[in-house]
């Protein structure tokens, strides 16, 4: 009853959503995997990244390739912010109960949300697509905007790069070791403090980058932090808290559920995504692709 080109278009749309969510959620998942902190403020980092990118584009406007510079600047700015927050605040609560960790990151949500409002006001803002990615092309009869293709490729590139770093580099081995048993790692003399800071900076960088990259296809408005964090939670839970590839596949599943869900159950997505999250937590709390925690 549906044409192939249409179904393929839905599939591509779902894939774009998925790669965006992966960019956002990968950092959230990494931080949880290593530090066991569920960072509510990850969505706020995403929002700050979007605002910073807009700001940088305003300053750089006449320069060539301003969008790419702006995106990089925004990601680095958020990485710096993340580093500061880890050193000044988060560092002191690793040993405490998760209740206090949740509340600390929630306090950051409140503070960063108002800070963005004080700095950038409440007007809706947006950034134009970089000219070289403004168009679109036809694949199997479906239109794929060039920018969406770029996002998909970026998502895959980050996934591969992340996998490479995690499995092939010394830092990656430490990260995986920390995820399995952090006391042991510390006992073996590894600098766990530096590892945690590095991890959090990387995670903030990814949040900032995804915030910057979203500006050409989404409006920047107050409250986008709270919207996105819930979605990121769902993705991470589906794939498995702390599992890198789990987050990747969790994003892919979530994107397709949203894309095809509106054809089968229009107007029901609000309910179904949370139901999906609950069912997975009940059946496999460690997610479809994760491993049970010890």
């Amino acid at each position: 009853m549906f044409e192939v080109s249409f179904l393929f278009g839905q599939f591509l749309g779902g894939l774009t959503t998925a790669m965006f969510l992966f960019l956002i959620a990968s950092g959230l998942s990494l931080v949880f995997g290593v530090m066991r902190v569920l960072n509510f403020a990850h969505g706020s980092f995403f929002m700050i990244g979007a605002y910073l990118a807009w700001q940088a584009v305003q300053w750089l406007a006449p320069a060539l390739h301003s969008f790419w510079l702006a995106a990089l600047a925004a990601a680095l700015g958020v990485a710096l912010l993340g580093g500061l927050i880890e050193r000044l605040l988060l560092r002191h609560i690793y040993g405490r109960e998760e209740l206090y960790q949740l509340l600390l990151t929630y306090a950051l949500v409140l503070i960063l949300g108002d800070a963005a409002k004080i700095i950038w006001g409440t007007q809706q803002l947006s950034v134009s697509r970089p000219p070289m990615l403004a168009g679109g092309f036809q694949v199997l009869g479906a239109t794929l905007p060039t920018y969406n293709l770029f996002i998909m490729l970026t998502g895959v590139a980050i996934a591969v790069a992340g996998w490479f770093v995690l499995t092939r580099s010394p830092a990656g081995r430490m990260v995986r070791a920390a995820a399995l048993d952090r006391e042991m790692l510390g006992a073996l003399g590894a600098n766990v403090g530096a590892l945690y800071t590095g991890m959090f900076v990387a995670s903030s960088f990814l949040a900032g980058l995804s915030g910057a990259l979203v500006t050409p296809i989404q409006s920047i408005v107050p409250g986008m932090d709270v919207e996105v964090i819930v979605e990121a939670f769902i993705v991470v839970v589906i794939g498995g808290l702390g599992s890198f590839w789990g987050t990747f596949w969790g994003s892919v599943i979530y994107g397709q559920v949203l894309s095809f869900g509106i054809l089968i159950l229009p107007g029901f997505s609000l309910f179904s995504v949370f139901a999906l999250m609950a069912v997975i937590l009940i059946v496999r709390p460690w997610g479809l692709f994760g491993r049970p925690l010890r």
């Binding site: 409440t122 007007q123 947006s126 168009g135 409006s219």
Partner: protein, 398 residues
């Protein structure tokens, strides 16, 4: 464990009577969303109201008394708006309530106004529920046209496109979008029985990814679309629909009744705006030809007041809400809500976009909507409304 003492202390503290209010100002409580996605509109409405208050006070106030605006952040939440409204009444002794933005806030605050017998003017809430016969009471008034008018004026625009046969709708999935689409469908079926509704999409409010809805709609090959997506959602929608060839596929024949014809969305979208679509606005702000002098002066004052390069299309609602109230007070010769409520019935007052009159039966003004095609104009770096046409409510009311 001397906690108990602290506890008693707190209770004792709450017994201290609220500071006696200075009685010589006329206090207007103004709950509005100032944070979250709805603050995009809440803030300019409040700025319009503040400017009106400062202008009125500069010219001596009303009945010899100055106005005082008590603005509060309702967070676009009905429950917060109700709490604030009651706090404003009981603690701050406001004389009147004006404000609220969303279709959930206004009916909720209306019940408080009724209970406390205080005049309440809702500037922008559009839900028909607010003034439906079951909910109408002497103290509730509304400036904006309701969702029926939104849907019907949109239908009138599309009905005018004679070669259109297949029409689709897309609107946010909550009362405001649902009601406007219902009104649209009812009207267009009568006006153009030859038109078929081929698709209806309901993205949620705050949707971040419209692609699946856009694809699904394009697959049904409509000739024209009635859209009620607005605000930040419209910006997101337009940015995602453009590269998918959505607007090209419908030849830009879209009528959006979500006030995306104002500068707010145009400014945010810049050259990503889908030039050629039709939309409405409370105030088109930029009026390339035949701009009324009063409007021109208003926009100049507003820009000076907010220190912004371009004015918002929503400030007019805040501005007019204060004048509606003060004209009522003047006519009543009193700040007594019972008298002001009576005075407001049938009252006419001037605004920068023309004279408005409160209907005695519905408690709504006769405010229509400016409709026009959104076009590129070399004088501005964003879309502007070509020849804004005022569609008055007359032909579209029940």
């Amino acid at each position: 464990m001397k906690m108990q003492r602290l506890l008693l202390g707190i209770f004792a503290a709450s017994l201290v009577p609220a500071a006696a209010a200075a009685a010589d100002t006329i206090k207007i409580g103004y709950p509005m969303p100032l944070s979250g996605p709805a603050s995009v509109y809440g803030v300019p409405v409040v700025k319009g109201a503040e400017m009106a208050v400062s202008e009125i006070n500069a010219s001596g106030g009303v009945l010899g008394r100055k106005l005082e605006l008590l603005t509060r952040d309702s967070k676009a939440s009905a429950d917060e708006a109700v709490r604030l409204a009651r706090e404003l009444i009981i603690k701050d002794n406001v004389d009147f309530l004006v404000g609220t933005l969303t279709s959930a806030e206004a009916p909720a605050v209306s019940t408080i106004a009724k209970e406390n017998k205080i005049v309440f003017i809702a500037p922008t809430s559009k839900t028909v529920q607010l003034t439906s016969p079951a909910n109408l009471h002497p103290y509730i008034f509304r400036l904006a046209s309701n969702t029926d008018i939104d849907g019907r004026t949109g239908a009138a625009i599309i009905a005018g496109w004679k070669d259109v046969k297949r029409v689709a709708t897309i609107a946010p999935d909550y009362a405001y979008g649902r009601d406007a689409v219902t009104a649209f469908v009812d009207y267009i079926k009568k006006a153009r029985p030859d038109i078929e509704i081929v698709d209806q999409q309901w993205p949620k409010l705050g949707q971040s990814d419209f692609t699946p809805f856009i694809n699904a709609q394009m697959a049904k090959k409509p000739d024209a679309v009635f859209c009620d997506v607005y605000g930040g959602d419209f910006v997101t929608f337009a940015k995602q629909a453009g590269p998918l060839g959505y607007f090209k596929a419908i030849n830009n024949r879209m009528a959006d009744s979500g006030e995306v014809g104002a500068t707010d969305e145009a400014l945010a979208l810049g050259n990503d705006y889908p030039y050629g679509i039709w939309s409405d606005a409370y105030d088109p702000v930029i009026w390339p030809e035949n701009e009324p002098a009063a409007h021109k002066a208003f926009i100049e004052r507003l820009k000076a007041y907010t220190k912004e390069k371009y004015a918002s299309g929503w400030a007019i609602m805040g501005y007019a809400s204060i004048f509606a109230l003060t004209e009522g007070i003047k006519k009543a010769g009193s700040t007594n809500s019972d008298k002001v409520a009576k005075a407001l019935l049938g009252l006419s007052f001037d605004t920068p976009i023309g004279k408005l009159t409160f209907n005695e039966k519905t408690h709504e003004t006769d405010m229509g909507e400016f409709w026009g095609q959104m076009v590129k104009d070399d004088r501005y770096p964003f879309a502007v409304m070509k020849n804004p046409k005022y569609l008055s409510q007359g032909p579209y009311t029940n």
